[in-house]
């Protein structure tokens, strides 16, 4: 699988950005607040108005945002927001299928939390549940917007491990916004790096 973005530009970004990722790769994005990093990821998921073209090579066929429905595209190219949102009364009601105990344990979540009201959980717990909620749709491209911002160092590394395993097993790829230089270092072996800032265009 290959994921390509050609001259993507949305309001809030300084310059159009092009990039390409192949299966198994994790791309890191960093840069100043307000440089349009989140807008860029939302544009890739077709959640906001933008210019440029986004392509996914899936089963030998190139798909772009125009050839499949927005809903189908967003299941393949999925945006994970820094602030999670829940629209039903129980965490479990947001899942179509039950989550296995191993998966929950792998990122330090207890089974009992699964049946609780989202308001009763901490933001860190909700961030991890939101990750599982999205991964259940088996997206091909993960767009991760500071998803470990509210986690302690140990849990943060568990989440990193989960993402790395997912990307390997599903031949997927990920784009990860992170402000944490140590996190960038940890993921550096497999990662490409884009810097968003006031003057430069995206570079590797």
């Amino acid at each position: 699988m290959i994921f390509e973005a050609q001259s993507i530009y949305a309001s809030g970004m300084l310059n159009p950005v092009s990039l390409s990722l192949s299966a198994g790769q994790i791309g890191m994005i960093s840069g100043e607040s307000g440089s349009g990093k989140s807008q860029f990821l939302k544009a890739l998921a077709d959640l906001i108005e933008h210019q440029g073209e986004t392509l996914v090579l899936d089963n030998q066929a190139w798909l772009n945002q125009q050839t499949i429905t927005p809903a189908h595209w967003r299941q393949k190219v999925m945006y994970f927001s820094a602030e999670t949102a829940w629209w039903l009364d129980k965490i479990s009601a947001h899942f179509n299928e039950p989550v296995s105990d191993e998966t929950l344990a792998a990122i330090g979540l207890e089974r009992r939390l699964f049946e609780q009201n989202p308001d009763q959980l901490s933001s860190g717990e909700k961030q991890r549940f939101a990750l599982l909620r999205g991964l259940a749709y088996q997206p091909k491209v993960l767009l991760l917007d500071e998803i470990t911002a509210n986690l302690d160092p140990k849990t943060e590394q568990q989440v990193e491990q989960l993402i790395q395993d997912y990307v390997q097993q599903h031949q997927a790829c990920a784009l990860w916004i992170s402000h944490d230089p140590q996190q960038q270092m940890r993921l550096a072996s497999s990662a490409l790096h884009w810097q968003f800032n006031a003057t430069a265009e995206g570079n590797t």
Binding site: T69, P70, W87
Partner: protein
């Protein structure tokens, strides 16, 4: 029947003047607005009385149509006036006008030609009061439903966007808000049905009984009106929410709240 003189009404209006004074002494700031609305109510009703006398005697289809269009337009306008967030002017008017006129007009013409069957079917003595009853009630329900939908869409933006990001369609992502909006619009109507005849004597029936009609005949008309009101508020709200829900998203099913203007 016993006729009321204009002097009786003038005497009764002193009640509202007195109320205004007492309210003002209690720190209520909007006494001028109370007086103004009361004056407006009297003027509007008197004008309606004179105008209807003319329309009733003429029995002209075009005149009835003209009165109906004015009433529909006013109802559509009142709907958007009550919104905290409304769509860019043109869409707002269209949503209000379409949803209220589609249901009220279809039901009115249906009940006149099939049930009551006056001669001719558009006889203003029947058509105009019936339309007025339908409009007044649908207007409130549609206004409430739309207001709940747009306000919740703004407040719960993150919950809609989270569902879109998971690959749900615009319609699915808005479903929970649509449920809340239907609830807000229909609960007052359901309460009205429950209260009818036990807690409240509906205004139309009271009017007919005062005018000397046999109570059971007045009740039959009231039941007919209630059934029409339930149908027109329900279907009208469904149409309004459907039209409004579409306006909240663009052709790529992206949530577009920039089409909403905050008014209050």
């Amino acid at each position: 029947m016993i006729f009321i003189s204009y002097w009786d009404l003038v005497a009764l209006s002193s009640l509202v003047v007195l109320l205004g004074v007492v309210l003002w002494l209690n720190g209520f700031k909007r006494v001028p607005s109370l007086y103004w609305s009361t004056t407006r109510m009297v003027a509007q009703l008197l004008f309606m009385g004179i105008w209807l006398t003319y329309v009733f005697t003429s029995e002209n289809l075009w005149l009835v149509a003209l009165v109906s269009v004015i009433m529909l337009g006013a109802a559509g306008y009142e709907i958007i006036q009550r919104q905290q967030y409304r769509f860019a002017k043109w869409h707002a008017l269209l949503i209000g006008f379409l949803s209220i006129s589609l249901t009220s007009l279809v039901l009115l013409v249906g009940v006149l030609t099939l049930t009551i069957q006056p001669e001719p079917w558009y006889q203003p003595q029947y058509a105009i009061p019936l339309l007025g009853m339908l409009l007044g009630n649908s207007m409130t329900a549609i206004g409430l439903g739309l207001d709940t939908m747009t306000r919740n869409a703004v407040q719960m933006r993150a919950r809609i966007e989270a569902q879109l990001a998971l690959g749900k369609t615009a319609k699915q992502s808005l479903e929970f808000i649509k449920q809340q909006s239907l609830h807000a619009a229909m609960i007052p109507v359901i309460n009205m049905l429950v209260a009818a005849g036990i807690i409240s004597l509906p205004g139309m029936m009271t009017g007919q009984i005062l005018a000397g009609i046999a109570p059971i005949e007045a009740v039959k008309y009231q039941i007919l009106i209630m059934l029409l009101i339930v149908a027109s508020t329900g279907f009208g709200t469904l149409i309004a929410l459907h039209l409004a829900g579409k306006q909240l998203f663009d052709h790529r099913q992206r949530l577009r709240l920039d089409g909403l203007i905050k008014t209050k």
